[in-house]
Amino acid sequence: MTEKVKGALRVHAIDQEAARLGIERGMTLADARARLPELEAFDHVSHDDHSWLERLADGCARYTPWVMLDAPDGLVLDVTGCAHLLGNETALASDVLSRLDRLGVTAQHAFAANPDAARSLARWRSIGANEDEAVRRLPVVALGLEEEATTALKRAGLKTVGDVAARPLSAIAARFGSDAATQVRRIIGEADSPLTPRIVAPPLFVERRFAEPVARTEFALTVLGELIGEAAGRLDQTHEGGRRFEARFFRTDGLVQRMAVETGRPTRDVAAVLRLFRERIETLSDPIDPGFGFDLIRLDVPVAERLDAAQLRLEGGAVGEAELVQLIDRLSTRVGRGRVRRFAPRDRHLPEQAELMLPATDPVPPGDWPELETGEPPLRPIHLFDPPQLIDSIASEVPDGPPRQFRWRRVLHDVARVEGPERIATPWWGSRQAPTRDYYRVEDRRGRRFWIFRHGLYGEVTEPGWYIHGVFA
């Protein structure tokens, strides 16, 4: 990663391999290239780093609600009273590290009684019999002071935090600035370190508490309906509609049952949302169990988008469209978003990659389907086998020629008409070079039309296989 400092491209960040080969942060890119010609350099985009860090912080909300960003590359978590959820602090740390490792992030961590100490210990590893000793052995750089102050401290012979802390702090403040004194007091825990947690934008939520637990599911759903109505009223005021609704049923014995529904378009339609929740409940393998009753029902609307007041159109076009959107929402809720799909074209050569299947609730990316030529028969099948089906046996007059006869699913097909080959090769820029495919459109004597291909040219592979990739109308 490089960034521009005073007109020169300098190395901003490096990976471990580069560090091993002697590249250092702060070098100019020209120097680094001279040392290591095959160095790969990328521009450094600081806000990308920041948004990545924010996403990591969001993920850490699973451990504690108190997460603070320590820009550019650190996170501080206040795990007071949270560590026992995963057993103990060590278990929590290993859970964090294994998750980060899966993301390809190398992380260092430390636990300490205050955020400043933890932050410094994680960055400047130091070992001591206990936390206090370890902190005192930290180098003065760990105080995070201005460069001048750090150099001044070093010149004065104060090498570690302990050295500084051993002096009267008034003298330190007088000589090296008040920052130095405050920082030392914070790191050894004499002064409070403020922790500013990330502010999570409070989503719209409505809740209902019950003095007496509610034991009937039907009544709980009625209440949910009222809550949706309340939320819809508030969304109406801000001209918004919810895209996602999350309901949480808190049971008296401490268990929480949660369920969420999503809609394809922002909505404030109470009946429609409640119907989606009913659909969701129907698909649950175990219906909502009230146990000894619910004492709190809460509805969150985490995702809301702009939705202006609708006007009923008389010609019915908008009504039909809205009905369709509701139908898609309902089916998606019942059978899963991934199983109600729309198609989108993709600019690819390989037939199986030429189109995408997306959840129908998602917006369809723009793209054009291929233009058709007048008078041509269909050149692509209407059913595509994925993976292609192996043909049992095939006969052709010449080794490289079109098939004359083939056996598929134990039925013999005599080829009456054939067109081809249409040669489709795997792209040369792909990582895996697969054999070229020669596609033939064939029709057997009974009129069945197939799309079959030979996988590999003669010479390219020793024994090319034949496959059926699709059937035509």
Partner: protein, 251 residues
Amino acid sequence: MPESSTSLSRLRRRVAHIEGARVSGGPARFATGHAAIDAWLGGGLARGRLHEVMADDSEDAGSLSGFAAMLALRIDAGKPLLWLRTETAERRAGKLYASGLGEIGLHGDDLILGLLGDDAALLKAANDAARCAGLGALVVESWGDPKPLDLTATRRLMLAAEASGVTVLLLRGEARESPSVADTRWRVSPAPSIALAADAPGPPAFDLELLRRRAGPAGRRWRVEWNRERRAFQPLDGQALSGAVLPLAAS
């Protein structure tokens, strides 16, 4: 000839009136484009009704889907088509391929595919979808003889279709002919196409058999070809009838 056909339709209306059915001259119809078929059916297939299409062999899946997509195009091109099928069908018959459907004239953006876990879920979704007036057509693809698909199920679909005006095409692959209230029932199988230059396979061609029809006699067979440019069926002899479809009585 035209006179006799109008008097026939007047008579039909009167009979319908006596029977207490709709007096508005029966349901609206959509023509297939094939003159003989349209004449036999009195102007085409009824809109807002249930129609069944059968295929005997799993290898006829392409013809089955193709014929359904073509009928859907005749019903209302431009309005979305919802295609419901089970995951077993998706595995056995192959995935529905939008590029290929595009090649017979069905635009990929107009297609919504719903994959259901089993036949019960398929019918439940079909019942919901048949009530949705925003759809151009609804295709329900089932294979074999699923238990939930009985006379009552077809009646439910028919009622929903009548209420919303959505035409429902029920595809039945490898199924036995079972009681149903469907308006028409067809059997489709592939027919050898008319070869193009260099003996290349031509446009899609089918053997159609009208197995059953509620409003009149059935048992007719036609050999048809799909014309993509006109988005219409035509006789397989290669001579497309141009111009308006004449309401000729079947000979």
